[in-house]
């Protein structure tokens, strides 16, 4: 019998409907695999009993013919999502033992669609990081590692590794500057950050409110389409969520891309760009071209400013969003003589280095005397970046770029440990999309000479995930990437 965990969500759903196996059997297969594959450190909390109870209910739904869109599909949930009755910590020491009494809107949508939750997935602390090394629970190991342990990318490193290693059928991720796409690329899986406002942020611990967006991470494009449909939707509890109908993304898969204009931004090909990556980029463009798509060269002139702008706005919002972790009402409390001591002791011990660094950067750029020079200016440039895309989309329908300038690197890489800027530079192709609020998907298209996956990014117009899915599906077929 085939390993059930290697089935895609679409395949599993089909088999479940045909009663080839039960949801409980499927869930047990994942639980077994999780128990045997803890070396990746993908999960920070396993909830097999929860998953099995949900699977039991799913089996009843199948029996009664009331099965829903994701009935019986075992998923992993990034620890940034608040899950009712299940410890949720954002992989931070400061949220030790925090068990929310509420369910995030996105995970509630997944539960309503019949999914089951295998556990909480590792991530960079409060989603701040690009290698999953800032997690209080230690780094995630990339399942593609061979001689030495490699990073899974971040911040949704646990999600990416778990999907790649078949420790869940699909996972939730969140993406503030590339946190879905980059780990997806590093681990050879597919992930999409939808348009800002597509998924509710309610119940997801905020990192940078104006950039954060939840999205699915899965084995392939179709699974992402199925999951996103379930996750998305207007939520009155999130004033930034957008009241728009959620399309059936799966329907567009396989549609002709003939005549579709694929934008190639010249700014995404800096002089030093890795040749293997630029080669795969060209190859991907050719594949789309051979299906009748038209390659259009476009310009996104403010691209060089995206990283500095991102590293002003995101920390600014984070410094405020993380102020609530003060030791007063929940999570870690380290006592002190006076109230201020309690704050200082709790936050000193509770937050890791990278989180502290960003809180300090954010506090600095919002301070009187610096606010205009940093935050206000960054917001102005952010508008220009958004306009870049608007102009580009007058010429093309979807933009193709590499997801990351590098493939997975080793855990504890000295240059990045010594200088965080080197780590931040890895976000160069992903952050603009968050600043502009646009949807973007990463899919694996090949391996580099080290045998590590490389991802391509497809960026779409706001609320046009359909064109992204359609294009990604075509590219996925032609690239024929072989999953782990």
């Amino acid at each position: 019998m085939t390993d059930l965990t290697e089935l895609t969500i679409a395949e599993a759903l089909k088999s479940l409907k045909n009663k080839e196996f039960s949801a409980t059997e499927l869930t047990n297969a994942y639980i077994q695999k999780m128990e045997n594959t803890r070396e990746y450190n993908a999960y920070v909390l396993e909830t097999p009993e929860v998953a099995l109870e949900q699977a039991r209910l799913s089996d009843e739904h199948y029996k009664n013919g009331t099965n829903r869109a994701l009935e019986g599909i075992p998923l992993g949930i990034k620890d940034l999502f608040c899950t009712k009755g299940i410890r949720s910590t954002a992989c931070s020491h400061i949220l030790d033992g925090f068990v929310p009494q509420y369910e995030s809107t996105v995970t509630q949508h997944l539960l309503n669609a019949g999914a089951s939750f295998l556990g909480k997935l590792n991530m960079d602390e409060f989603a701040m990081g690009g290698s999953n090394e800032t997690s209080y629970y230690g780094p995630v190991v990339n399942p593609w590692s061979s001689s030495e342990p490699l990073v899974a990318g971040g911040s949704s490193g646990g999600s990416a590794a778990a999907v790649a290693a078949h420790l869940c059928a699909g996972a939730t991720g969140t993406d503030t500057g590339g946190s879905i796409r980059q780990p997806a690329a590093f681990c050879g899986i597919t992930g999409i950050k939808p348009t800002y406002g597509r998924c509710s942020r309610w119940g997801i611990m905020a990192f940078a409110s104006s950039l954060d967006q939840a999205g699915p991470m899965a084995k392939d494009v179709r699974d992402c389409a199925i999951m996103l449909r379930a996750m998305a939707g207007y939520d009155a509890k999130d004033s930034t969520s957008v009241d728009m109908k959620v399309p059936d993304f799966e329907q567009v898969l396989g549609q002709d891309i003939k005549g579709l204009k694929i934008g190639i931004p010249s700014e995404y090909r800096p002089d030093g760009l890795n040749k293997e990556i630029s080669g795969l980029w060209d190859k991907s463009a050719q594949m789309l071209q051979s299906r009748g798509a038209e390659i259009v060269h476009i310009n996104l002139p403010h691209t060089p400013y995206a990283l500095p702008v991102y590293y002003i706005i995101a920390p600014a919002e984070a410094s405020s969003n993380l102020a609530r972790y003060d030791g007063i009402r929940y999570g870690l409390r380290v006592k002190g003589e006076k109230l201020d001591d309690l704050y200082i002791n709790t936050r000193t011990e509770g937050f890791g280095t990278e989180v502290k660094r960003r809180i300090m950067i954010g506090t600095y750029v919002l301070s009187a005397g610096y606010f205009d020079a940093y935050y206000v200016k960054a917001q102005k440039v952010r508008r220009l970046i958004k306009q870049d895309f608007e102009k580009a989309f007058e010429k093309c329908d979807v933009i193709l770029t590499p997801t990351s300038p590098v493939s997975a690197f080793k855990i504890g890489d000295e240059s990045m440990q010594e200088n965080p800027i080197n780590m931040y530079l890895n976000d160069v192709f992903t952050v603009s999309v968050n600043l502009a609020g646009l949807p973007a998907l990463s899919l694996p298209v090949g391996l580099d000479s080290k045998g590590l996956p490389l991802g391509m990014q497809l960026i779409g117009k706001a609320f046009d995930e359909e064109t992204i899915f359609k294009t990604a599906y075509a590219l996925e077929k032609d690239a024929a990437f072989k999953r782990k």
Partner: protein, 485 residues
């Protein structure tokens, strides 16, 4: 009236501005669905949002926006169609998110003005700088345990309007008159209950002094959280006097924050304000900017109630009231409504006299509110009519009024049942007059011989004989005719 602080050497002028925090009347909090009920058990009305739980997001309560617009219109102010929420970042145990959601650069209400009436009969316009809406903090309770501080989050997230005035006040009286006027306006509008003692209206005063005629402003002290009109006036006066004293002794005033000590009536130094606190304001990314349409604003304008100033003018015009009486009657909407109901179809001026005189005196004596009054407004109108049409005398009316208060019955019914109707039949009165004169021959003789002050005694005898029911004017007239014959 110019108010100054005179010393041996100089004459000083007060410069004062106020910031008033008004809790918005709304069923639920400004960014959550939790109840705003005052006086419930601690931490009873707290949603996950109010407690600053991870992943929670604010959703703006439209009712609070409506109330702020209403208040803005009531203060003759500019309504800003575009306003923006900002975060004011600071750590405190009663601030669950580590920031307060407020409005900073772009408040919902801009410049306005309020007319105040002063005791010398003059009026003055006080400029309103702005009104912004924001969330209230939780309440820290320090005095329940010597080692612990408790936090009650019921108040966390209740909607506030912060009303900021220009530094237009030149005397404690002006500030007091403004606070009363503002309280009256928000109560009329139903946007804030104005109960300073319960903290639903709280006042900060910025006070500085300068020599009379001096231009520019000197350093100011901010007195925080004063909780009555009287205390606000005392605080301004004592702080101004303190500053004058410091200047006169050659000292300087540094920008500072004080509190008002109710026991001593003095302001107490709290902290220096050498640097402006750095609250790191930035636009709240969880809430889109607030954009209002003209239609929305006009809709609210069309539903505005008549405010105290307009009502006062109308009362003066329609009922011929003095400014003073009209002021008293319009201070609260309840009193004004009571008066209007009472005066409808009757002599308004006389109705006003009864309400402001005997009626209020009795309510006060019995410690009753207007709502608890056993007398319905229509009854006062009826009472006034009974006097005007000579059914009862003014003296009897007092007795009738007392009975109305005790029984809640209408004056008409009381007069009828008790037979208090005034005798206006001259032949009937004449008969009593004749009897009194006939049975008091010696006093008649004395009167005739020049003891004319006995006239009053005769009146009293006649009134007594008629059991008070004889019309006093007629008694006077008839006695005069008979005695002086």
């Amino acid at each position: 009236m110019t108010y100054t602080i005179k010393t041996e050497k100089n004459e000083w002028e007060i410069v004062c501005g106020l910031e008033i925090h008004c809790q918005i009347i709304s069923k639920s909090k400004i960014f959550s669905g939790a109840s705003t009920e005052f006086g419930d058990d601690a931490n009873e009305n707290v949603s996950f949002i109010d407690a600053g739980m991870p992943g929670m997001l604010p959703v703006l309560n439209k009712e609070c926006v409506r109330q702020a617009v209403k208040t803005g219109l009531g203060l003759n102010a500019q309504i800003n169609k575009h306003s923006v929420f900002s975060r004011k970042n600071y750590f405190y145990a009663d601030q669950p998110n580590g920031y307060q959601i407020t409005q900073y650069e772009y408040p919902i209400v801009g410049k306005g003005n309020v007319k105040i009436d002063l005791s010398d009969g003059t009026s003055k316009n006080i400029g309103i700088t702005r009104i912004h809406i924001e969330q209230d903090a939780a309440k820290s309770i320090h005095d329940l345990n010597p080692k612990k501080t408790y936090v009650d989050f019921n108040r966390a997230g209740v909607g506030l309007m912060e009303i900021v005035t220009e530094p237009d006040f030149r005397s404690p009286e002006e500030a007091g008159a403004f606070l009363k006027k503002l309280r009256s306006i928000v109560r009329y509008l139903g946007t804030c209950d104005g109960n300073m003692d319960e903290g639903s209206m709280r006042c900060d005063a910025s006070i500085s002094v300068r020599l009379k005629g001096e231009q520019g402003l000197r350093e100011r002290a901010e007195v925080k959280n004063v909780n009555s009109v009287k205390f606000a006036m005392q605080a301004i006066e004592s702080e101004a006097k303190r500053q004058v004293e410091v200047y006169e002794q050659g000292g300087t005033i540094e920008q500072q924050t004080c509190r008002f000590d109710q026991a001593t009536g003095q302001t107490k130094f709290m902290r220096k304000k050498e640097y402006a606190d750095d609250y790191r304001y930035f636009p709240e990314p969880d809430l889109p900017p607030l954009d209002l349409t003209d239609e929305y604003i006009e809709n609210i304008r069309a539903q505005m109630v008549e405010l105290p100033d307009a009502k006062k003018e109308r009362f003066m015009r329609d009922f011929n009231l003095t400014a003073y009486d009209a002021d008293l009657l319009t201070e609260s909407r309840e009193t004004a409504d009571f008066f209007e109901k009472a005066a409808k179809g009757h002599d308004g001026k006389k109705v006003a006299n009864w309400i402001l005189g005997d009626f209020f005196a009795r309510l006060n004596a019995d410690k009753l509110t207007l709502e608890q009054s056993p007398i319905k407004p229509e009854m006062i109108g009826q009472l006034v009519d009974l006097i005007t049409n000579n059914t009862i005398s003014g003296k009897i009316a007092k007795d009738v009024f007392a009975l109305m208060f005790e029984t809640g019955q209408s004056p008409i019914k009381i007069v009828e049942e008790k037979g208090l109707k005034q005798v206006t039949d001259s032949s009937q009165i004449e008969k009593i007059v004749d009897e009194v004169i006939a049975s008091n021959a010696d006093n008649l003789a004395a009167y005739k011989s020049g003891k004319t002050n006995l006239f009053g005694w005769f009146v009293g005898q006649v009134m007594k004989a008629s059991k008070g029911s004889a019309n006093p004017q007629m008694v006077n007239q008839l006695l005069k005719d008979k005695l002086d014959k």
